[in-house]
């Protein structure tokens, strides 16, 4: 069988970041509906393939307001999640980062950390951003640890902002500035 060519945009150690492959939309739909995965990504509505296709529709818009990559695992030879900058603001040069490992069997392997690090480097060095933010919920201890590990600092706590799994929980906003990042990465 013919080996499909993989389109790599950013090369990492264990992973690569690839532009969205529309053929993978079903995999993304599986993650978006998976009870355990969707809990933390706060998908409270069912997502059809069509919904997702529309959301992931890559526009010709330049500069891009949202930038989406699939996380490809080299050893497993498959995509395991996605990373995304959304709401890139080209006046303030700020963007919001999100990372999702869709395959819950491989959680806890720091794959999200590796992907997030690549995105931060890409954001500061190629997109000329000055601030990158990320938000998560207080019960998502894994995400909080991951954000701290990549050098992000807690900036803001929105008390009881989000209804999550039967109760109101705090939303935590993290951020990193280019100066902070350069101090440890240059």
């Amino acid at each position: 069988m013919e080996k499909k060519t993989r389109i790599t945009f950013i090369e990492g150690e264990r992973i690569e970041l690839l532009p969205l492959n529309p053929e993978n939309v079903k995999i993304h739909a599986r993650w978006a509906n998976d009870p355990k995965t969707r809990l933390y990504t706060q998908n409270v509505f069912p997502v059809s393939h069509e919904d997702l296709k529309k959301r992931l529709d890559q526009t010709q818009e330049r500069p891009k307001r949202d930038i989406f990559f699939e996380i490809y695992h080299k050893e497993l030879d498959k995509i395991v999640g996605f990373v995304e900058f959304h709401n890139i603001n080209y006046i303030n040069h700020a963007a919001n980062l999100s990372v999702v490992i869709g395959e819950k069997e491989i959680w806890g392997n720091n794959l999200g950390t590796e992907a997030a690090k690549q995105m931060i480097k890409y954001g500061f060095e190629e997109l000329n951003l000055v601030k990158i933010t990320a938000s998560t919920l207080k019960p998502n201890k894994g995400a909080c640890r991951m954000l701290e590990k990549i050098g992000m600092k807690l900036e803001l706590v929105l008390k009881n902002q989000t209804y999550f799994d039967g109760m109101y929980v705090d939303e935590l906003n993290f951020c990193i500035s280019r100066e902070e990042w350069e101090q440890t990465n240059k």
């Binding site: 818009e61 330049r62 500069p63 307001r65 080209y90 006046i91 190629e126 000329n128």
Partner: protein, 202 residues
């Protein structure tokens, strides 16, 4: 009597015109306002005017239909790659030219500045200079640009002087870059950085 009537009518129309001019940036003798499709005719006249287009380098005839397209609203959610203003003369209450940024690079934070006074009677009065200062300030303080540049071809002495007066520095010369009136001319590329503009302001 009839003449008086038309004068009154004209006054009313002027008043009406004034009512829907909303300055976006206020200057001394001019304001910068958003483009308005009712000025398409005027803009078309400027673009085709031999004297004006000589310096603005329009070598193609432009129909009113083409010019009208330029005033159409942008699709939603799109970072524009150009921002254009109409220069509105306060005392004579009429639009006299266009100014703005084109080729905006939002990642590298630079843009090309252009200016055109379409009514030659307003040339030589420092209006382009005033409008440029307003637009440069807007570019650095509101759009967060890092660098503003412009290209001037050699016979355009007035623009060369204006660029220097505004604090632009020559970055380089593009040899025989432009074919104007039967021969090739050099283009001088000028640039102004935010840090230099801020220092000048203090």
């Amino acid at each position: 009597m009839g003449l008086k009537m038309t004068e009154e009518k004209k006054d009313r129309e002027d008043k009406k015109e004034e009512d829907d001019v909303f300055p976006f940036i206020e200057g001394e003798s001019i304001d910068l306002v958003a483009g308005n499709s009712k000025w398409a005719n005027l803009s078309c006249k400027w673009r085709n005017d031999p004297k004006v287009r000589h310096y603005a380098r329009n070598i193609w005839p432009q129909t009113l239909e083409e010019v009208k397209k330029r005033f159409e609203p942008l699709p939603d959610n799109q970072m524009r790659d150009s921002i254009k203003f109409t220069i509105y003369h306060k005392q004579s209450k009429r639009p006299i030219g266009r100014i703005g940024f084109s080729r905006i690079d939002w990642v590298s934070k630079n843009a090309n500045i252009f200016a055109m006074i379409g009514e030659p009677e307003y040339w030589g009065k420092g209006i382009a200079g005033e409008a440029s200062r307003l637009v440069i300030n807007y570019g650095f303080t509101e759009l967060n640009l890092h660098k503003i540049y412009s290209g001037v071809f050699t016979p355009n002495k007035r623009s060369l002087r204006a660029a220097e007066k505004l604090g632009f520095e020559k970055e380089g010369v593009l040899k025989e870059e432009m074919y104007v009136d039967g021969q090739y001319h050099d283009v001088h590329r000028f640039a102004l950085f935010k840090r230099d503009w801020e220092m000048k302001d203090e």
